[in-house]
Symmetry: C2
């Protein structure tokens, strides 16, 4: 059924099924992905490291494992792209900065080890902005190379959206998964804070860093998430939790029709006219399922608290880069670190102390009425130009509160570029957010 020509467009779930059934080999799938990369990569520039032979060797090992009759993992033979701030023991990890050029970690990051244990083929490393902050890498938007792919997980979003790989990992400290997913037209998922261990990922901010996933369907996000969660000794914010059956929960019908709260956020005036109109139409189309919700007043200050925490923690975590190589940092990153170095401990602690009350406010909102929050993923489609990765402001609040957030490529701009819809869920109810998202996507398709 599947041949190499179709293979790169297969979902990860379909590919895994076909490989398990013997109808497709991982080598065929990986070859097809590599063919697609050869075709598209010159235009998109999503990869910072891609060794075809090493990828094929992993694929052949996966096929061999399957043929031997040994238990094959849920991602057996499925290729995954890894953002280049996530350590890989067999490939360089350069964090998007010349200061780390040639860096080759000894160990896999926890998430990479988990993917390998699930049978995945680590296809290669995807482009990140400099230290996952604002200074862009080489990646272009697959829909139009004159537009930004968004950042900081630029390569992962672009590679998945362009069909070079069905799954990729990214990370988000402000808007680095949701924004590039929206700009490139991929499904992007930033899980609850602490759900996916960050051990072996460039540490910018313990409070704000999240690992995240890109895919081309909710089903594939769920498949990847099943292998990525769990406690890890190296990440003090992870907790021992039972394995979550993401796939089964995401596939369920909601027991009662969900109620979605539409939140414009205090930054709605930044949303462009076209996107405002598209959101208006979307809300109308969803009818009684959506209600506009006013944010509680203290949320308006969350952007300032996020800035204080991010700057202070990044300044602490990038101290060595600043001390030994600040002349090799971009102006933007150097300025961030310099601002962060001036933050006072009392202000930093005050900002930290305000997260819990915000979380309680959201907890109330979710338990009293709403199954999810609908909100823009960005101010509009991907802006033209490659000097900036766009505005993360529509992700900041959800990142600060550690809520699970999803970017759904449901809308389009008049220029044909994707326009992302963001769905935000209750903290630690990640699988249920995917279920609500599937319901939402189904409802819109049915209209």
């Amino acid at each position: 059924m599947a041949n190499e020509r179709q293979a790169p467009d297969l979902s990860a779930a379909a590919a895994a099924r076909l490989i398990r059934e013997g109808a497709l080999t991982s080598e065929e799938l990986v070859r097809a992905c590599l063919d697609r990369c050869r075709e598209i990569e010159p235009k998109v520039q999503a990869w910072t490291f891609l060794d075809e032979e090493h990828a094929l060797a992993q694929a052949r090992a996966a096929d061999e494992l399957r043929r031997s009759g040994q238990a094959a993992g849920p991602l057996c033979g499925v290729p995954v792209g890894i953002k280049d701030i996530i350590d890989t023991g067999d490939m360089p990890t350069e964090n998007g900065t010349v200061l780390h050029a040639g860096r080759t970690p000894r160990d896999d990051a926890a998430v990479v080890a988990k993917l390998r244990a699930a049978g995945a083929v680590i296809l290669g490393k995807t482009v990140t902005t400099e230290c996952a902050y604002f200074h862009p890498g080489k990646t272009r938007n697959p829909h139009n190379p004159e537009h930004t792919p968004g950042g900081s997980s630029s390569g992962s979003a672009a590679a998945v959206a362009a069909g070079m790989v069905p799954l990729a990992l990214g990370s988000q400290t402000n808007g680095s998964v949701i924004r590039p997913a929206a700009f490139c037209g991929a499904y992007g998922f930033k899980p609850s804070h602490g759900l996916v261990p960050r051990t072996g990922i460039l540490k910018l901010s313990r409070t704000l860093d999240h690992a995240g996933v890109f895919a081309r369907s909710i089903e594939d996000l769920a498949l990847a998430m099943e292998s990525l969660t769990g406690w890890d000794a190296g990440d003090p914010d992870t907790r021992p939790v039972a394995r979550i059956p993401f796939g089964a929960i995401a596939a369920e019908e909601p027991p009662i029709p969900p109620v979605i709260g539409f939140i414009k956020t205090p930054h709605w005036d930044r949303v462009d006219a076209e996107a405002k109109e598209a959101f208006g139409e979307l809300v109308d189309a969803l009818g009684g399922a959506v209600e506009e919700v006013e944010l509680f007043p203290s949320a308006a200050e969350a952007w300032e608290w996020h800035k204080t925490i991010m700057e202070a923690e990044m300044a602490a975590n990038l101290e060595r880069e600043w001390r030994d190589g600040r002349d090799k940092l971009s102006d933007k990153l150097r300025a961030l670190i310099e601002r962060g170095r001036e933050v006072r401990a009392v202000d930093y602690q005050r900002a930290l102390s305000l997260i819990a009350p915000i979380q309680e406010n959201f907890e109330e909102l979710f338990t009293q009425r709403y199954d999810a929050i609908l909100t823009p993923a960005a101010a509009g489609t991907a802006p033209k130009g490659l000097d900036s990765t766009g505005d993360p402001a529509f992700c900041t609040l959800w990142t600060l509160a550690g809520l699970p957030a999803l970017s759904l490529p449901l809308l389009r701009g008049s220029n044909g570029m994707p326009l992302g819809v963001q769905l935000v869920g209750r903290r630690h109810f990640d699988a249920r957010l995917l279920r609500t998202a599937r319901w939402l996507v189904g409802k819109i398709s049915a209209e």
Copy 2:
């Protein structure tokens, strides 16, 4: 057997046993303690709130409970003194500052609720220094009223040492349990960080604050600890742990003779000549059971890190007192807050990040050879004068590392004042430290 005259000198364990057996009533015991208070309090000034009728009402209720045949808790009818930074729903809690004069909390602190659940009588509130920092309260050393009782848990240490109450709670952010215990000649115990919940205790420093206990024997410390540990939703550093049988473990003989590491610390030069000599004799008396251990070099900087963390966190937590009433704070506390307000977030984070490596170093030391660390509790006996509460430097390192620490009143100065010996244990092995301490006390008595 017991009469009112002997009662105040009973241990908590003996009193609880006699009350359980019906050989003593809580009312008799509490009356005897109140008699002792009336006799000694004018000289010692350990209490900031002591309502005889309210204490007796609690005692009569405990007696009534016992007579009714209902299950009586392990501390049924036993009076306990509570440091006045620990909230009590039925008594004022003024935190040693005029800014909180007349403050009456709505709820008991978690530790007070636990004591009440165990059947204890909350006798009254004991004097604390101003906000548990350096500015002294009215308490005097029961061995000589011209000498400091130490601080900040001045009243709890003095009340227990003077026989006014068999048990009292205190707290330690630097040396506030171990030092006054040593100066007053009580047994003082600062458990592992996170073992005893701090909910409802004046918050100075999440990283450094510990609740602690004073008693006149190791057995009594163990008895109190059995009721004090546990997870609490209000204290993010507590963990769900099984109830620890402190009494049974402390009463065991060690399976093999313990090996004690004697650590002079980088501040040994502050120890006075008499105390140095007394420690030398103690080490000699213990013979092969004690070995002098060199601290790993990074420990020398721990005092600086402790200072950075304590100042930054106290400045954040006392922000309101500083903003609204700094003219009513002592010069010392105001200066601390002002220093803390200038600490940079990067320096604060660096100091925090150095705790885990220090803990790993101690973990190695304890797992490889030593059952406990022997070290001074203070630079000598309680200094003369009431303007200062003495030097906490011999407690700082163990507080920072969150290790369980015990002050044992085993030595005396030539002036007859108590000289404390500090025994420090492996983190989260608190009951075993009490067992080692019992062994040590036995060995010294046998010499």
